[in-house]
């Protein structure tokens, strides 16, 4: 039989503390790009709308 080893979990308050780094930096890079390619594009989309008239035909 496999003996079940119970590893004691650190107190929840310790885990809830933000690590201030680690994989968080990957998330920072991800959100940077998300902001750039959602709101960044929406902010300049007037250019896309203004593009209509001169390029007709």
């Amino acid at each position: 039989m496999i003996e079940q080893v119970e590893t004691p979990l650190p107190p929840s308050s310790e885990l809830a503390e933000p690590p201030d780094g680690g994989y968080g930096w990957v998330c920072v890079a991800a959100v940077f790009f998300i902001n750039g390619f959602t709101w960044g594009i929406v902010a300049v989309s007037p250019a896309l709308i203004l593009g209509y008239p001169p390029n007709r035909n």
Binding site: A30, V31, I34, N35, G36, A43, A47, I49, L50, N55
Partner: protein
């Protein structure tokens, strides 16, 4: 009596330029300048209306599904817009669908940074929010080049493909820390609306929104109306994004230090003041560029999605983050 003729004269003059410009071209039959502006307004409205939907689906299923749906909506919106031939089709595609996508992507990714960073939160939020300015700056030049070389349809398709290629890996890389912390996700906390301070905050955001949209959507139009070439006029949007890229992180840091009500107050007033002091007298490329950069950096304090934050996370969470 004295002011009224001047105001109406100014408005009619500038409005006439836009209107004749759009109507002459007549790309979309019956499309007016108001219709074109409405497409931009729909982006913001649809994204805000998606906030409760995004919060509910994240809680019910997994964050990844909501994000993926958002990526599909946004890219799909641009690609379907390239096939639009009627103005209402443009409303639904480039207006509603793109806006929905934006909301579905942005809202779930919003609280993640605060889960990972505590002490460095202001700095990190500044870095991520500068992304919008940097992205806008780069894309406004890219979009101009695409439109002039490939035409509007292919520019829209390429933008759709680019947003998919960037947003898909970026959203899939996100990890929340829900296993460790148990955030209290309320779809809509209606009791919050009854609070006087929340009501005031929302009113500020809502009213400020008019100014924000008016500024972002008419800056390049205005450039054209004072006789700038269309390339130079469209650079104004790029310059404004440059201002946002610098001003937004700065505004965050200043707000942390000097107060989250005081700094937005000053910036709001300064933006309004600049419109009268610089924008109205601006008749040359140089002055208008100066206004765009300065106005953009002041405008950084107001982020359209801050309304989403108020709605979803409430005032308490807002003071924390």
């Amino acid at each position: 009596l004295v002011i009224r003729p001047i105001v109406t004269d100014f408005r009619l003059k500038s409005f006439g330029v836009f209107l004749s410009y759009y109507l002459d071209s007549n790309y979309f039959p019956g499309g007016t300048s108001f219709d074109y502006a409405l497409v931009g307004g729909l982006n913001f409205t649809a994204s805000m209306l998606m906030a409760p939907v995004a919060t509910a689906t994240v809680r019910q299923y997994h964050m990844k599904y909501t994000l993926f749906a958002g990526v599909l909506c946004m890219s799909g919106g641009f690609i379907t817009a390239s096939f639009a031939s009627q103005i209402w089709q443009l409303f639904l595609s480039q207006g509603v669908l793109v806006g929905m996508g934006c909301g579905l992507i942005y809202v779930p990714s919003l609280p993640i940074i605060s889960q990972w960073f505590g002490k460095k939160r202001s700095l990190v939020n500044g870095i991520t929010s500068a992304g919008a300015g940097v992205g806008g700056l780069g894309m406004s030049f890219a979009i101009q080049a695409m439109i002039s070389r490939l035409g509007i349809s292919w520019a829209l398709r390429i933008v759709g493909i680019i947003t998919f290629a960037v947003n898909l890996p970026a959203t899939m890389a996100l990890k929340n820390r829900d296993g460790y912390i148990h955030p209290n996700r309320k779809v809509f906390d209606l009791t919050l609306f009854l609070r006087y301070d929340v009501f005031l905050l929302l009113s500020w955001a809502f009213i400020m929104m008019f100014g924000y949209i008016a500024l972002t959507y008419s800056l390049s139009d205005y450039g054209r109306s004072i006789g700038l070439s269309s390339a130079r006029a469209s650079y104004q949007t790029a310059f404004m994004n440059l201002g946002i890229a610098v001003g937004r992180p700065l505004a965050g840091l200043l707000s942390d230090r000097f107060g989250r009500i005081e700094i937005p107050c000053i910036c709001t007033f300064a933006t309004g003041f600049l419109c009268f002091a610089l924008w109205i007298p601006a008749k040359t490329f140089g002055v208008l560029t100066f206004f765009s950069i300065l106005g953009g950096s002041m405008l950084g304090i107001f982020w359209p999605v801050s309304i989403c934050i108020f709605l979803i996370y409430g005032l308490y969470e807002l003071t924390l983050s």
